[in-house]
Each structure stands twice: as structure tokens, then as C-alpha cells.
């Protein structure tokens, strides 16, 4: 077997804050092969964003972070290389697209120059070369009239166009891996579709691996091959996108899937929300973090942290009832669709 492009092993990330130690990622392992797309799904505070920021060590200057585990990218542990080496990888072999393009772009630098800057830094291209390449890239990501508009500042672009600029910067140096953190969440729904399609197209065309971080199962359904579901800093379930639709195992995954809009739900029918609140990340959690909100929780769920149970080649679930539940679902079904 070839080694994966990215392999994260037992990643733990915590922040020291005024309110105590916040455990943002707690025992996360996953891998991404070259050209493959992985979705990391979770709600606010689930650790999905922090796990992706850890890959490139993108933390604030004053964050008091403790990191442990391994992040192997092309065989090198990114947690153990120098800042200078990492800055060659950031925006080079690994590109990133964030939720809010307006705060990610430099407001006083023309967009073309921002794309060119990255090209010059990583490839040593000359100014005219980088500019020419920047215009090609802006054109490729769908900026109309790119040769002219590349001299404009970010504020004169719409939200969707700014996000296209971000995508151009992210792919400027032909990365091996693209990390997209809620790339379409701040956009209007019709523009969201365009950006997701663009990322999907570029990934296939350029053979880039993708990590799509989102709170929305609809987004992963359209863009990725495999999914990792996180809750309260921990991995809950890991499966292929087909398994997600047909045999989601973890009660949390199932609960979230019930909330994805479906057009055949009876109009005006009640939603079945997940009751309660996620735990505070400063709390010490001994059992399964989802147990207090889980309708199936037993005593052991509250006391002992469940292991990730392997259910198949690409399916793991961190639930004490995983095997039992998987047996019940050997015939593909959609348990969350049964009417309440």
C-alpha cells in the first residue's frame, strides 16, 4: 500500500485560556490519499476548524497552544519541522480557502497582485511571469475580464467573486492538498453552489486532494468521498459518503442527518432536533461526550469513553453500541427517515 498524502495520528490540541484549559481536538486520526476528498463535519466548537488549522499551525501569535500527535504530510511530520520550512508548504503544497474572503484578502492590494505574490514567494517567478500566471488563474476560477479586473481591490468584487480570488490564490502553486474551511457558508445559496462546483471541478482537473470542513451534510454530499464526523473535539464516525446515506452508525450522525432538509418530509411537520447543548470544552469528559444528549445512552456511555469500533474497511464509529447497531443495519436502510 502506498503511503497516504496526509496522515494525522492521535492529534490533541488544547488552548490555555482564562477559563481554564480548552481541549479543542482530542485524539483525532485520519488520512487523505492523493486526489481524494475528505469532509470533516461538525457544529461550532466540535474541533473541525482547529484540526485543520493545526495542519499548518495557523494559530494567533498569543494563543497558548499545546499540540501532540503526528501530522505526516508526504512522510514529514509537520508538527516537528521549523516555521521556515512550514511557510514553504503553506500556500505552496497545501492551499487554504477560508469562510470569509473579505477578511482573508488584503484590502489595499489589487487582487491580481495577491495571487502573484504567492506565486513569486513559492516559485521564484519574476513579476511579469507571476502577473501573467495570476491572470490565467483568475480567468480559470471564473473572474470575468480577468486581465482588467486583476488591478482592482477586493472591495469592488462581490462575495462570490472574492471567494473565487481566494480559490485562485489557494491553487496558484499547484498544491497537493487544498483545505477549504466552510468556503461557501457566508455566500448566498445560488453562489454557494457555484463555489462548491468550482472546487469540485478544480480538484478533479488538477488532481488535488481536498479537506472540506463544514457543518452541512449537504455540502459534503456534493463534494467529498469520505466523511469524518466530529463532536466536542472528538471523532464520532468515519465513513464513505455512501455509507453515510445508507448506514450511518453513530447516534449523533443519525441525529444530524435527520435535520438535513428533505423535500418529502410532510410540510409543517415537526423537526426532530437533538435536545440539549454540547458540553463546554473546559469540562472533563470521562464518557462519550454525546451521552447526555443521546436517547440510547447506557451507564457505560456516561462513564467510559467508547473506542472507535471498526465496522468495515472505511467505516468506524465511536459508540459502545456500534456493532449492535451495525448488525441491525446490514440491509441498507435509512433509519433517520422513519416517521416519528
Amino acid at each position: 500500500m502506498s503511503t497516504p498524502l496526509l496522515e494525522v495520528r492521535d492529534l490533541c490540541v488544547s488552548f490555555a485560556t482564562r477559563d481554564g484549559v480548552v481541549r479543542a481536538v482530542d485524539g483525532l486520526s485520519f488520512s487523505v490519499d492523493a486526489g481524494e476528498a475528505l469532509g470533516i463535519v461538525g457544529e461550532s466548537g466540535s474541533g473541525k476548524t482547529v484540526s485543520s488549522l493545526s495542519i499548518l499551525r495557523l494559530f494567533g501569535l498569543f494563543d497558548d497552544v499545546t499540540l501532540s500527535g503526528e501530522i505526516l504530510f508526504e512522510g514529514r511530520d509537520l508538527l516537528r519541522i521549523s516555521e521556515a520550512e512550514l511557510s514553504r508548504i503553506r500556500g505552496g503544497k497545501i492551499g487554504m480557502v477560508f469562510q470569509d474572503p473579505l477578511t482573508s484578502l488584503n484590502p489595499v492590494m489589487p487582487v491580481g497582485e495577491q495571487v502573484a505574490e504567492s506565486i513569486r514567494f513559492h516559485t521564484g517567478a519574476t513579476r511579469p511571469q507571476a502577473r501573467k500566471r495570476a491572470i490565467e488563474l483568475l480567468d480559470r476560477v471564473g473572474i470575468p475580464d480577468a486581465a482588467k479586473r486583476c488591478d482592482e481591490l477586493p472591495h469592488s468584487f462581490s462575495g462570490g467573486m472574492r471567494q473565487r480570488v481566494m480559490v485562485a490564490i489557494a491553487i496558484a502553486c499547484e498544491p497537493k492538498l487544498l483545505i477549504a474551511d466552510e468556503p461557501s457558508t457566508a455566500l448566498d445559496v445560488t453562489v454557494q453552489a457555484q463555489i462548491l462546483l468550482l472546487l469540485d471541478e478544480l480538484r478533479r482537473e488538477l488532481g488535488i486532494a481536498l479537506i472540506m470542513i463544514t457543518h452541512d451534510f449537504g455540502v459534503v454530499a456534493a463534494t467529498v468521498d469520505r466523511v469524518l464526523v466530529m463532536y466536542a473535539a472528538q471523532p464520532m464516525e468515519y465513513c464513505t459518503i455512501e455509507h453515510l446515506f445508507d448506514r450511518a452508525n453513530h447516534p449523533y450522525t443519525e441525529g444530524l442527518l435527520r435535520l438535513v432538509p428533505r423535500l418529502d418530509h410532510r410540510m409543517g411537520g415537526r423537526l426532530r432536533p437533538i435536545e440539549g447543548q454540547p458540553p463546554a470544552l473546559t469540562e472533563e469528559i470521562s464518557g462519550c461526550p454525546f451521552a447526555p444528549r443521546c436517547g440510547l445512552a447506557e451507564e457505560r456511555c456516561h462513564n467510559d469513553r467508547p473506542p472507535l469500533v471498526r465496522l468495515g474497511p472505511h467505516h468506524e464509529s465511536a459508540c459502545w453500541l456500534a456493532t449492535e447497531r451495525a448488525a441491525r443495519l446490514t440491509t441498507p436502510g435509512r433509519p433517520w427517515e422513519t416517521p416519528s
Partner: protein, 342 residues
């Protein structure tokens, strides 16, 4: 009728003095105990319309009747007393609550402002309202910052309902919340709609959200209503290409997700034009895959009733020159196929 808006026009001026028509000859009605979902993308004028309907911002043309009173003539104390019956719930629950006030005081404030009841009566009403919206009593003395996002939005809802209003305007009330919390709040609003004698104007940028609550849905685009009708009709038989695009854009978790994205891309191509320079004729023509020069790029379409006027389609109207000729291709049919079975 609780709210009657006729031919409403709201104009602004851009920073460099050019006129912007944010709401362009819009008419809509909300009956007693009825919920209207108002959907559209950024800058379509939905929030402006809602604010003009309460005369929180002035309007330039048209007529607004709130609870049977013509707002055009009202001002000062009279306007304030009508507005008492029409509170708002906002998108950002934390930003819309005074951080220095306790939960109890926030919910009590509208009663105090409108001088409704003595201190003891008000305290009883606040407790009752907290119970109704699912806020535990021990939160009474807490401040907004000590609450979760869902709890903050419950406080906003309690504050809106405490005066027993006739119409509540909800402006993106769940957009800022996590999915699992969002469903709790949508269910709460559905319960309140079913148990209280109240109408809702429910504003959202996403059709999926209004679906669970609305009796009727109106879709806005660049200041105009392009389609309006009973909620099941809007989802099963959207007639305007833009509405069709919005229905396709509802992200669902199944193996057709990618095809639907492509469909959205085709039905709502490109970017939203600027309100400073809206397209001539039908305002949707720059993004519409069906648009033809004559009439789409020349003449603004009239709003026409579609379908059987008496039956399920009652009041389904659409503003599209081609609405009779557009037959959605097969992948578009799948949008409503599963619905038929439901």
C-alpha cells in the same frame, strides 16, 4: 388582514447620490394566524420591505395597512401603539439583547415601555412567557453573555411575544445558530404559531428554513416579488426559474447532490447584478437560462396567477414572461418527485 402592503416603493440614495430602488412596487398580504415566508438573497430588499411595513424606515410610494390602520397617516404616539402589536426577532440574538440587562428585565421591558400592568402582573407574565419559550426559571437573573446562542434567541422570542402581538416579524431568526439548535428554535416557533393567535412574517435567505413554518412563501429578487404561493406549490411546482434554482439549491444529503449543484448553476448563473444598475425588462434576465431578448430584456413581466385558482394553487402568482413555456428538464423533476411520495 393583519398586514396589507400595496405597490410599496422604497428608494435610497447611494453614497455618491445615485438612486437605488430597494423595494419596487411590492404587494403582499398576511392574514390572521397566517405565516408568510419571505425568501431572497442578499440585497433583494426583504429586510427593507419588513422595516418599511412597520414604517421604521419611510417609504416613497404605495400603501401599508397594519391591523387595518393606514400607516401613511400615522405618526408619533399612534404609530408607536400600532407597532406594539408587531415586534421583531433578529438574526443575531446576542447583539439584539442589552448585555447589561438580566433575562427577566429584557423580557419585561416591552411591558414597561407600553405601560402594561403593574409590577406584580408583569413579573407573573414574564415567568409564564419564560416557561412558554422553554427558558428555565433559574436563568431569570442571568445576563445574555451567560446564555448559549439558542437560549439567547429564546429570550428574543419571549421579548417579542410578551405583549401578545398580532404580527411578529422574524428576520433570519435561525441563521446564526448551529443545526441541532436551529431545529429546536424552529420547533418552538411552530408551536407558538399553532398555540397563539399570532401571524408571522418569516424572512430567510434559504427556502429550506421557511418550509417548516410557512403557509405561504414569497420569493424576492432585486426588489421585486417574482413568485408567491402556498408553500407546497412553491416546493412542488416552482414556476419562476429563480425559484426553481432556490429549490435546487437546498443542500440535501443524497447521491444526487452534485447534479443539483449543476442545476443551480444553470438556473441561477453568474452573480447578482448591482441595484444601482439593474437589468432592463425582467430583472432576472442576466442570470436566467431561458431569457430571450423580446420580451425578457425589454419589458418587465406582470404578475400573473397560475394554476387552478380555487384549489391548492390558490393565489399562486409568478412574474415571468415565459412561465407557461418553461418545462423543467428531467433532473429538475426529481426536485418534486420525492415530494409527491411524501
Amino acid at each position: 388582514m393583519v398586514l396589507e402592503v400595496d405597490d410599496l416603493v422604497v428608494r435610497f440614495e447611494s453614497a455618491d447620490g445615485r438612486p437605488i430602488t430597494a423595494v419596487d412596487h411590492v404587494s403582499l398580504r398576511i392574514g390572521r394566524r397566517e405565516t408568510l415566508g419571505l425568501v431572497g438573497e442578499t440585497g433583494c430588499g426583504k429586510s427593507t420591505l419588513a422595516r418599511a411595513a412597520l414604517k421604521l424606515i419611510p417609504f416613497d410610494e404605495g400603501q401599508v395597512k397594519l391591523l387595518g390602520r393606514d400607516l401613511g397617516d400615522l405618526g408619533g404616539e399612534e404609530l408607536r401603539s400600532v407597532r406594539r402589536h408587531c415586534p421583531m426577532i433578529f438574526q443575531d440574538p446576542r447583539g439584539s439583547l442589552d448585555p447589561r440587562m438580566t433575562v427577566g428585565r429584557i423580557i419585561d421591558e416591552p411591558l414597561k415601555v407600553h405601560r402594561l400592568g403593574d409590577a406584580a402582573q408583569r413579573a407573573a407574565q414574564v415567568r409564564e412567557m419564560m416557561d412558554l419559550v422553554g427558558l428555565p426559571e433559574e436563568l431569570h437573573g442571568r445576563r445574555p453573555v451567560q446564555l448559549s446562542g439558542g437560549q439567547q434567541q429564546r429570550v428574543g422570542i419571549a421579548r417579542a411575544l410578551i405583549t401578545r402581538p398580532s404580527l411578529v416579524i422574524c428576520d433570519e431568526p435561525v441563521s446564526a445558530l448551529d443545526v441541532s439548535i436551529r431545529a429546536q428554535i424552529l420547533n418552538l416557533l411552530a408551536d407558538l404559531r399553532d398555540t397563539l393567535d399570532v401571524s408571522f412574517l418569516f424572512i430567510a435567505h434559504d427556502l429550506a428554513v421557511v418550509r417548516h413554518l410557512s403557509d405561504r412563501v414569497a420569493v424576492m429578487y432585486l426588489g421585486r416579488i417574482v413568485e408567491e404561493g402556498p408553500v407546497e406549490r412553491i416546493f412542488s411546482e416552482p414556476r419562476h426559474p429563480y425559484t426553481q434554482g432556490l429549490v435546487a439549491a437546498i443542500l440535501r444529503a443524497d447521491n444526487q447532490a452534485r447534479e443539483r449543484l449543476q442545476l443551480v448553476d444553470r438556473l441561477a448563473a453568474g452573480d447578482l447584478p448591482s441595484l444601482l444598475n439593474p437589468p432592463a425588462g425582467c430583472r432576472y434576465n442576466s442570470r436566467c437560462p431561458y431569457a430571450v431578448d423580446d420580451p425578457c430584456r425589454l419589458i418587465p413581466p406582470d404578475t400573473e396567477l397560475v394554476g387552478d385558482a380555487g384549489g391548492d394553487a390558490a393565489g399562486h402568482r409568478v412574474a415571468c414572461h415565459l412561465h407557461g413555456q418553461i418545462t423543467p428538464p428531467s433532473s429538475e423533476v426529481t426536485l418534486s418527485e420525492s415530494w409527491e411520495k411524501g
